[in-house]
């Protein structure tokens, strides 16, 4: 099976986020970056399918230069080769930064890079940890004219195509059968994620990493939906923060739970 996995580099979950001066995005300088976790699960599923059925795993990611480190990580974990859609934040030219595109624009870039590969299966994570749009996989399927499903925990290859396990709300699941080629948006938690081995990291350096300039893909920048401003959320409740040492805070909390909240 030839599988393309679309992955995104996002700010590391533990990295502190600060709103940039223009209030349109976060301050990216000195930020630490990581592979979007649902995408790591998509990669894991792809690698396991390849181990069972043979074939090739191609990693695809769009973004500026820094995205290369996340692509290398995917190659080190076992992907065979990679395509980097280079889209510099400050870059001149038709492409410009990814922020000039909405969800549809980004999916168009990815779709244009996927089409010449004619894969059997395209996997993405369900959502990104930064923008959280939850749409890339579904739009990709529409642009590529392929069937899709989302919130997938497990993929099984059948004679007719695929049988997947889809998560529903409140602890329910369903199976879905579909023909190949197809697009799946993977939910987290279906597999155990692997770590890159030392050997894998070494091998990654020799694997093909093809850079494609976003401007070459013929996708017009522009957006029907724009993020105009970001801000810190307003508190929904007035939270009493308890300070002091751990012991002082704990003692104060128990007192308040007894006398104020009356839940102890």
């Amino acid at each position: 099976m030839k599988i393309v996995v679309a992955i995104k580099q996002v700010p590391d979950r533990d990295a502190p986020v600060r709103i940039a001066a223009d209030e349109k995005w976060i301050e990216e300088r000195e930020l630490q970056w990581a592979m979007n976790e649902p995408d790591a699960y998509a990669l894991e599923e792809a690698l396991q399918l390849k181990e069972k059925h043979g074939g090739e795993v191609i990693v695809l990611s769009a973004g500026p230069e820094r995205v290369g480190s996340t692509i290398r990580e995917a190659l080190a974990k076992g992907a065979d080769r990679a395509i980097h859609i280079v889209c510099d934040e400050l870059g001149a030219g038709a492409g410009g930064g990814l922020r000039n595109f909405d969800a549809l624009g980004v999916a168009r870039l990815l779709a244009e890079a996927i089409k010449p590969e004619s894969p059997d299966l395209v996997l993405t994570g369900l959502q990104s940890e930064d923008l959280g749009l939850c749409q890339t996989g579904v739009i990709l399927a529409e642009l590529l004219g392929l069937p899709h499903s989302t919130l997938i925990l497990h993929v099984e290859k059948t004679d007719a195509g695929l049988k997947v396990k889809r998560e529903l709300e409140e602890g329910w699941f369903q199976s879905i059968e579909m023909p190949l080629p197809a697009v799946l948006a993977m939910q987290s938690g279906g597999n155990k994620l692997r770590y890159a081995t030392l050997m894998g990291i070494k091998r990654a350096k020799t694997k093909e990493l093809r850079a494609v300039n976003a401007a070459e893909l013929g996708v017009q920048a522009g957006a029907v939906v724009t993020l105009e401003q970001i801000s810190a959320p307003k508190k929904q409740k007035s939270t009493q923060m308890l300070g002091g040492s751990a012991k002082e805070a704990a003692t104060a909390l128990v007192e308040k739970l007894k006398t104020e909240a009356r839940v102890l």
Partner: protein, 324 residues
């Protein structure tokens, strides 16, 4: 009619999240300009339920191939309906798992982009949605000819503002039959199933101690168990803990797990992504312990301790024991 509101049902009743989406639709247009859409193979009862709400009309999108949800069936049928109702400016949905599965494709079909998981609508209209796992808010605006597609986060708008109108005449109901062929539906879904019988009913627990990523490893769970023991509380967890197999799935609180509303909910090392918050924000008293003072969990907490859980939790266990 300027708003098409796509209602979702479960077990033959319109879901509460659909009425929250109606409340959101009221921010975009007067009730008379809202058309509610029910979709399926037999929709008469659903349509009657919707017609009693404050809205202009109800359209039944009905076809035998819409009996079970498929992304293809729903996208094709709703696309035909929207093209048929050419004065539609807004298409509004509840942000359910099902809507996430097809609404982005439906919007794409019309060259549009869904503004998903909206928590607020201000004048403009400017749509608010969460970024960075709830740590920031983003303000979004739509441009172009539209229609503009919007899905509404569960719990963000109040369903009780759109109560059934007892004395008013029901809204008129129309039937729309989409043209659908079996070959257009490329996926074959099974009946829903559960993995195993749920043996833990967190829904009836009075006190819950819930743990998240901050615990770092399964070997640290005894710390949390000790606190739960001292409080006489049930143990629960956020999704990543169950994904890692550190706690059974049936103890997961959140949109993909159980919804709880105990008297006391102690969230330890949980940042408070919306998927978790929807499962516990109805709790009577919420305590949050997290090292990041900006973690979104503190926005819903009554009491917060910004500190290292490895110091705070043992101290709290001792304080609870000492306070008896």
């Amino acid at each position: 009619m300027s708003v098409l509101l796509v209602l979702e049902e479960s077990g033959g009743k319109i879901k509460r999240a659909s009425w929250e989406a109606l409340a959101a639709a009221h921010r975009l247009a007067p009730a008379q300009e809202i058309t509610a859409v029910v979709i399926g193979a037999e929709t008469d009862a659903l349509a009657a339920e919707a017609a009693a709400k404050p809205l202009g009309k109800v359209v039944r999108v009905e076809h035998p191939l819409l009996k079970t949800y498929t992304a293809d069936g729903f996208s094709i049928a709703l696309h035909q309906l929207i093209r048929n109702q050419s004065d539609t400016k807004w298409v509004v949905f509840p942000h359910t798992y099902q809507v996430r599965d097809y609404a982005p494709a439906l919007a794409c079909r019309m060259g549009e982009v869904l503004i998903g998981d909206v928590t607020g609508i201000e004048d403009g209209p400017v749509f608010t949605r969460q970024l960075m796992q709830g740590r920031l808010n983003g303000s979004y605006r739509h441009s172009g000819n539209g229609p503009c597609f919007v899905s509404v986060q569960a719990g963000a708008f109040r369903a009780d503002s759109v109560e059934t109108q007892v004395n008013a005449a029901p809204a008129p109901i129309e039937l729309f039959t989409p043209a659908l062929e079996p070959a257009q539906i490329r996926t074959a879904p099974s009946e829903p199933f559960r993995e195993s019988a749920q043996t833990v009913d967190l829904g009836s627990a009075q006190r819950i101690v819930s743990v998240g990523r901050g615990i770092k490893g399964a070997e640290n769970l005894p710390l949390i168990e000790a606190l739960a023991g001292a409080l006489g509380a049930e143990l629960a967890a956020s999704r990543p803990i169950c994904d890692n197999g550190w706690m059974p799935m049936e103890r997961q609180v959140g949109s993909s797990g159980q919804t709880v509303a105990p008297k006391l909910y102690v969230a330890v090392g949980i940042s408070g992504a919306i998927q978790h918050l929807v499962g516990m924000k109805g709790s009577q008293c919420i305590v949050a312990i997290n090292k990041d003072p900006d973690a979104p969990i503190f926005e819903v907490a009554d009491y917060g301790i910004a500190g290292d859980l490895f110091e705070v939790v043992p101290a709290l266990t001792e304080a609870v024991k000492a306070g008896r």
